[in-house]
C-alpha cells in the first residue's frame, strides 16, 4: 500500500513542473480523450495531507537511473532525454488511489515482460514517447511501481536465489490476499504492517539496483537498458516458470481490478486541469490550483448539481493575468492575447474561438525554435500543451477546439524526424491553414449551399442566438432572391441575437426579434427552425448555447422541422445524455444584474447570502428526437447518422 502512495510524493514536484513553467511538460492527451469516470478517491488526501511531504521512501528508482547511465554511452541521442525519463518514471507514483496500480501490473506488465518485443520497446522508449506518449511511459511507470506488492516480483527478480524470491513473492501475495479480503475499506486505510512492507520494499529495491548495475556493467548490450526486460529475456525458462505463478495470483489482482482502467486517466489528469475535471473533488482541485498560473479564488455559492464544473471567476482572474504578462515567458504573446480575449469575452462562438486559437498557435510555431538537445516533435507538443492548459484556465475549451488541438498534435506527431526545423514548421503552418480553410470556412460554404435548398419562398425561419453558419445561410438565401422572413429569438444574459439581427436588417432581410419567453407564441407561424451548434455528439445530441434545447422542443411540439447547421469538425464521438455532467458555467453576476435597470436589481449583494445560488449555464444538450436534420459539410444527414460520419471520416480526414 504505502509503497504505492510513496511515489505520489515524488510525483508532485514533477507535476508542478508541468504547468506553464516547464518546457518539458509531458504530452497532454486529456483534451479530447475518451470520457473517463471521475475517479473517486477523496480519503487519500486525508491520509497524506500534503502531497509535498517528503516520504522517507522517496528514492528515485535506482534501477532506472543506472539503466539510463548504462545506456548513455551507447545511445547518444537518447542521452539528453534521460533526465526527463527519470522524472517520468516517478510519475505514476502520484496515484491517488493506491489500489489502482495492482491490476494493470499483473496483466499488462507481465505479458509484456514475457513477450520478446518488450526489450525492443524499452530501448526505443525515446522514440516511442514521441509517437505514443502513453505507451512507453505508462509501462515504465507501472513496472517500477508495482514490483514490491504484486506477484510480478517473481518475474523481475529471477536472478535472485530462488528461495528468497519464492518467499518474497509469496509474502506479497499473502498481503495482497489479505487486503483483498478486507476489501475496499482496508485498501484505503493504512495497513498495520506498513513498516515491514516498507522494509521489504527497500530490500528489494536495493537488490534490484545491484542486479541491474551488474547487468549493465556485465553485458553492455543495449538490451540491458531495461534490467527487467533483459533478465526476462536472458532467462526465458525462468520467466516461463514464473508465469504459472502469476496465473495463480491473477484472481487476487482481479479482485482489485476496480480501478484497473484508470491509471492512464490518472497520469493524464495531472498534466493539465482536464477540461472535464471534477471540480468537486477537493484533492484534485488543490493540485490544479497549485499549478495554475492564475490564482483562483473559491467561488462562494455553488449550485449543488453543478459543483463538479469549473466555477466561473472572471473578475478576479483578468487583472491578475494581465499583470503577469511579462512574467509568463513560456506562453507565447499571441496565445496570451487570445487567452485574454477569451477571458474578456471578446471572442465567442465556436468557429471564431477555434480560428483564433489556431492562428495564435501558428504565430507561436513561427517563432518557435527547438532548444538544443531536444526533438522538435516532443518539445513542440509540450509547448502546445502548456498553451492549451493556459487557454483552459482562461476559459474551458469547446469541443471544436479540442478537436482542432487533437488535429494539430497528430500532425506534429506525424512529422518525420528527418525534416529540418524550418521544413517541419512550414508543414505545420500550412496544415493549420488547410484545417482552417477546409474544415471551417469551406465547410460553412458547403453547409450554406445545402441548407439553402430547404428554404422556400414564403418561409418564416426561426433562429436562436447567433450562429455564424446560420447567418451565412440567411444572407446567402437573401442574395439568391428568396422571399422569406426571419424570426431572431434571443435570450438574456448575452443577447447575442442583437448583433445578428443588426447585420440581417442591414442586409435588408425582414426580421422579427423576440426573447425566448415568447418562443411558444411565435412558433405557430414559423416554417423552419435553423440552429447552430457547438458540437454534435455521436448519439445525435446537439450541444449548443443554452436555450437551444428549449427552442427545439417547442418547434418539435409544433411540428416545425428543426435543422442544425454544424461543421463536421465539431462532431465528437462522446455520448452525453444531459447537460449536467459536462457544461460550462458563466458569470453568475450576469444573470443577477440587469444593466441600466437599477430598480429591479434586487440581487445586488447576492454573493454575501449563503442560501442563494445562481446558475448561469452556457450550454445545453438537445436530444436527437427534437432534431429533424443535421446539415454538415458531408451533406444533410439524420441525427442517427452522426456516428457514421464520425467513424468514416474523422479518422482519415481529421486525425491523419
Amino acid at each position: 500500500m504505502e509503497t504505492r502512495r510513496v511515489p505520489r510524493a515524488v510525483s508532485d514536484p514533477k507535476v508542478r513542473q508541468v504547468g506553464f513553467f516547464a518546457p518539458g511538460a509531458p504530452p497532454d492527451r486529456s483534451q479530447s480523450g475518451p470520457p473517463h469516470p471521475a475517479s473517486s478517491s477523496p480519503p487519500v488526501s486525508e491520509i497524506s495531507p500534503s502531497g509535498n511531504s517528503l516520504s522517507p521512501v522517496m528514492i528515485p528508482p535506482p534501477r532506472h537511473l543506472s539503466a539510463d547511465l548504462a545506456r548513455g554511452p551507447h545511445f547518444s541521442p537518447a542521452a539528453p532525454l534521460s533526465p526527463m525519463r527519470a522524472a517520468r518514471d516517478s510519475i505514476p507514483v502520484g496515484s491517488y488511489n493506491p489500489s489502482e496500480f495492482v491490476a494493470p501490473t499483473a496483466s499488462e506488465f507481465t505479458d509484456d515482460a514475457l513477450s520478446p518485443n518488450w526489450t525492443a520497446r524499452r530501448s526505443n522508449s525515446g522514440k516511442f514517447a514521441s509517437s505514443l506518449p502513453a505507451g512507453g511511459f505508462d509501462m515504465s511507470s507501472l513496472k517500477q511501481n508495482n514490483f514490491p506488492a504484486s506477484s510480478l516480483t517473481t518475474v523481475s527478480i529471477v536472478n535472485m536465489p530462488p528461495g528468497i524470491t519464492e518467499k518474497d513473492g509469496g509474502a506479497g501475495v499473502e498481503v495482497q490476499k489479505e487486503r483483498s479480503k478486507t476489501g475496499s475499506k482496508a485498501s484505503l486505510k493504512p495497513l498495520k504492517e506498513q513498516t515491514t512492507k516498507a522494509e521489504r520494499r527497500a530490500i528489494q529495491e536495493a537488490q534490484r539496483a545491484a542486479k541491474a548495475a551488474t547487468k549493465g556493467d556485465g553485458s553492455k548490450t543495449p538490451a540491458a537498458s531495461s534490467g527487467l526486460g533483459s533478465s526476462a529475456n536472458a532467462n526465458p525458462g525462468k520467466a516461463a516458470k514464473a508465469s504459472p505463478q502469476k496465473k495463480d495470483n491473477s484472481p487476487v489482482a482481479a479482485s482489485e481490478k476496480r480501478g484497473s482502467d484508470r491509471p492512464q486517466d490518472k497520469d493524464r489528469k495531472k498534466d493539465v486541469p482536464h477540461p472535464r475535471m471534477q471540480f468537486d473533488d477537493k484533492s484534485r482541485v488543490e493540485k490544479a490550483k497549485k499549478r495554475s498560473v492564475v490564482k483562483q479564488t473559491e467561488a462562494k455559492n455553488r449550485v449543488e448539481l453543478f459543483r463538479h464544473l469549473p466555477q466561473y471567476e472572471h473578475g478576479t482572474r483578468l487583472p491578475e493575468l494581465e499583470s503577469k504578462l511579462f512574467q509568463l515567458d513560456p506562453v507565447h504573446p499571441a496565445v496570451y492575447k487570445v487567452g485574454l480575449r477569451y477571458l474578456a469575452g471578446d471572442i465567442s462562438g465556436g468557429n471564431a474561438r477555434c480560428i483564433a486559437m489556431l492562428q495564435a498557435f501558428q504565430e507561436s510555431i513561427k517563432d518557435y525554435s527547438t532548444p538544443p538537445e531536444k526533438a522538435l516533435i516532443r518539445d513542440l507538443t509540450s509547448k502546445i500543451n502548456s498553451y492549451v492548459s493556459f487557454l483552459i484556465e482562461c476559459r474551458p475549451l469547446s469541443i471544436s477546439m479540442g478537436n482542432a488541438i487533437r488535429f494539430l498534435k497528430s500532425k506534429i506527431a506525424k512529422l518525420s524526424l528527418a525534416l529540418s526545423e524550418s521544413e517541419a514548421k512550414a508543414i505545420l503552418l500550412s496544415d493549420i491553414d488547410r484545417f482552417i480553410n477546409e474544415k471551417i470556412i469551406l465547410a460553412d460554404k458547403v453547409i450554406v449551399r445545402h441548407a439553402v435548398t430547404k428554404i422556400r419562398d414564403g418561409d418564416v425561419l426561426l433562429t436562436y442566438g447567433s450562429s455564424s453558419a446560420v447567418e451565412l445561410l440567411l444572407i446567402h438565401a437573401h442574395e439568391l432572391g428568396k422571399n422569406f422572413r426571419v424570426v431572431v429569438v434571443d435570450s438574456r444574459p448575452k443577447l447575442e441575437g442583437k448583433l445578428l439581427l443588426r447585420r440581417l436588417v442591414g442586409k435588408g432581410i425582414s426580421c422579427t426579434y423576440t426573447h425566448i419567453n415568447a418562443v411558444s407564441y411565435i412558433m405557430h407561424e414559423v416554417t423552419r427552425v435553423f440552429l447552430g451548434a457547438s458540437s454534435v455528439l455521436s448519439n445525435g445530441t446537439v450541444y449548443s448555447r443554452v436555450g437551444t434545447a428549449c427552442v427545439a422542443m417547442v418547434a418539435h411540439q409544433f411540428r416545425v422541422p428543426v435543422l442544425i447547421c454544424c461543421e463536421a469538425y465539431k462532431f465528437h464521438e462522446r455520448v452525453q445524455l444531459d447537460s449536467i455532467c459536462s457544461n460550462e458555467l458563466g458569470d453568475p453576476d450576469m444573470i443577477a444584474k440587469v444593466p441600466g435597470r437599477k430598480e429591479i436589481d434586487s440581487l445586488d449583494d447576492w454573493a454575501n447570502s449563503d442560501n442563494l445560488q445562481l446558475l448561469n449555464l452556457i450550454y445545453d444538450a438537445t436530444p436527437s428526437d427534437y432534431v429533424s436534420m443535421i446539415i454538415t459539410d458531408y451533406g444533410m444527414i439524420p441525427p442517427t447518422s452522426v456516428p457514421v460520419i464520425v467513424r468514416e471520416y474523422r479518422r482519415e480526414h481529421l486525425w491523419t
Binding site: 449551399r449 445545402h450 439553402v452 435548398t453 430547404k454 422556400r456 423552419r528 422541422p561 435543422l563 429533424s628 436534420m629 458531408y634 451533406g635 444533410m636 444527414i637 439524420p638 442517427t640 447518422s641 457514421v644 460520419i645 468514416e648 471520416y649
Partner: protein, 394 residues
C-alpha cells in the same frame, strides 16, 4: 450528384424555364396548376405513372381514357407520340440510350431502374471512347439524359446515380490498359444489373420470417416487390389474409387483389377511407416504395402516410419492401418538400371550375412511422438507410 438532387427545387425552376418547348411534352416539370384555372396549359402527367399504367394492363385502358378526358386532346397526342417527341428532342447519343431504355422498359416485370441500369450497361458496351475519361463523360451524359427523361421517378434517378457510383468507383480505373479497364467496368455494370434484377427475389426470401400463420396483412398500392413477397409466402404454404385498399385513383388495389385471388389467398377489399376502421384486425402493414430517402422515410403512393399514422397509433408494425436502387439522396422535411408527381383524378362527376383538385400522386412517410425496411441489403431499420447512403455516396 448530391448537390443536384438536394437542390431540386432550384433545378425545378431552371427546368421550367428550359423545358417549355413542345419537344418535351412529357417532361413533368410544371408546377401543380389547377387545370380548370388555366385550361390552355396542360397539366403534365408523370411519365413514371404512365410507365406503371402501361405495365399494369388492367388499369391502362380506362386510366388512359380518364387521363385523356381530364387533360384534353393534347395529352393523347403526347402519349401516342411518346417516342417520336423524345426522338426529335434528344441528341443522337442520348437518343440511343433512351431507345435502349425503352426497349428494356417494355418488359412488364422489369423495374424502371433496372431497365435504366441495363441501358447504361449497353452504353458502355457500345461506346467508342478511347480513354477512361471519355467513357465516363459519355456515361454521365447518358445517365443525365435518362434522368431528365423523367425527373419524377425517384428510382430511375437513384438507380442511375447508384450505377455511376458502383461502376466508376472502382480500382479498375487505375488499369493502364483501357480495354481491360473497360471490360472490368462492363463486368461490374452487368453485375450491378444482375443484383438489381435479383433484388426482388432476395427481399421475398428475407421477409418470409415476418409472415406468420394466421396473420392479417394490410397492403396499400400495387408494388411488384410486395406481390413477390406475398406470392412467395403463399408458395411456402403460409396461411394469411390480405386486406387490400382500393388505391384510388388508379385502382391499384383492385389489380393487386386480382393477382392475389389467382394465388388463392383470401383477400378483402377496403375503400381507402376504411383503413382506420379495419386496423384493429390487422397484424402488419406491408407497403412498397417509390423511393427511400435519406432520413429513412419513404416516398410512396398517396395514402401511405395516413396508413402509417393509423398503424402507428394502433401499434401495428409497418414494413416496407424496397430494392436498394430506390435509395435516393433526398431529404424531404415535409410533404411539400418534394418534386410533385401529378396524376389526373376522375371523380365521376364534372368538377366545377372554381374547385381545385389535389393531383399529387405520392406522399412522404417519415421514418418514425416505419418499423422495418426489407431491402436486398438485408432487413434494415430506417436509420440504417442513411448509413448506407453515406457509404455509397461519400
Amino acid at each position: 450528384m448530391w448537390y443536384r438532387s438536394a437542390s431540386f427545387i432550384l433545378d425545378q425552376q431552371q427546368n421550367d424555364g428550359v423545358a417549355k418547348p413542345e419537344s418535351r411534352l412529357l417532361s413533368p416539370t410544371a408546377p401543380p396548376l389547377s387545370m380548370a384555372e388555366t385550361p390552355q396549359q396542360i397539366p403534365k402527367i408523370s411519365a413514371y405513372y404512365q410507365t406503371r399504367a402501361a405495365h399494369h394492363g388492367v388499369v391502362t385502358s380506362d386510366w388512359l381514357a380518364q387521363a385523356q378526358a381530364a387533360v384534353g386532346r393534347q395529352a393523347d397526342e403526347a402519349v401516342s407520340d411518346d417516342s417520336l417527341s423524345l426522338k426529335s428532342g434528344e441528341s443522337p447519343k442520348a437518343f440511343s440510350v433512351i431507345d435502349e431504355f425503352n426497349n428494356w422498359r417494355k418488359q412488364p416485370e422489369l423495374a424502371e431502374a433496372v431497365a435504366a441500369i441495363r441501358a447504361l450497361a449497353s452504353v458502355i458496351r457500345s461506346s467508342e471512347a478511347n480513354t477512361m475519361m471519355e467513357l465516363e463523360i459519355e456515361l454521365k451524359k447518358a445517365s443525365d439524359s435518362l434522368k431528365s427523361w423523367d425527373t419524377t421517378s425517384i428510382s430511375l434517378t437513384a438507380g442511375c446515380d447508384l450505377f455511376m457510383r458502383y461502376v466508376t468507383r472502382t480500382s479498375a480505373l487505375e488499369y493502364e490498359d483501357f480495354n481491360s479497364a473497360k471490360s472490368r467496368l462492363l463486368e461490374r455494370a452487368e453485375k450491378f444489373g444482375e443484383i438489381s434484377y435479383k433484388a426482388r427475389r432476395i427481399i421475398a426470401m428475407l421477409s418470409q420470417d415476418f409472415i406468420f400463420d394466421g396473420c392479417t396483412i394490410l397492403v396499400h398500392g400495387f408494388s411488384r416487390v410486395v406481390l413477390e413477397v406475398l406470392r412467395t409466402a403463399a408458395q411456402n404454404r403460409k396461411l394469411f389474409r390480405i386486406f387490400c385498399t382500393e388505391g384510388r385513383p388508379d385502382r391499384t388495389g383492385l389489380r393487386l387483389s386480382n393477382e392475389l385471388a389467382k394465388l388463392d389467398v383470401p383477400v378483402k377489399l377496403l375503400i381507402d377511407s376504411a383503413v382506420a376502421y379495419s386496423m384493429d384486425e390487422v397484424d402488419m402493414v406491408f407497403v412498397g416504395a417509390d423511393g427511400v430517402v435519406e432520413s429513412g422515410g419513404i416516398i410512396n403512393m398517396m395514402g401511405t402516410y395516413q396508413i402509417a399514422l393509423v398503424a402507428k397509433s394502433m401499434s401495428k408494425p409497418v414494413y416496407v419492401a424496397a430494392e436498394s436502387y430506390k435509395f435516393a439522396r433526398l431529404y424531404p422535411l415535409d410533404q411539400k418538400d418534394m418534386v410533385p408527381a401529378l396524376r389526373p383524378i376522375d371523380f365521376g362527376v364534372p368538377i366545377p371550375s372554381k374547385v381545385e383538385v389535389e393531383t399529387s400522386a405520392r406522399d412522404y412517410t417519415p421514418p418514425q412511422y416505419l418499423t422495418l425496411l426489407f431491402t436486398d441489403l438485408g432487413v434494415l431499420t430506417p436509420s440504417v438507410v442513411s448509413d448506407e447512403l453515406i457509404q455509397l455516396y461519400l
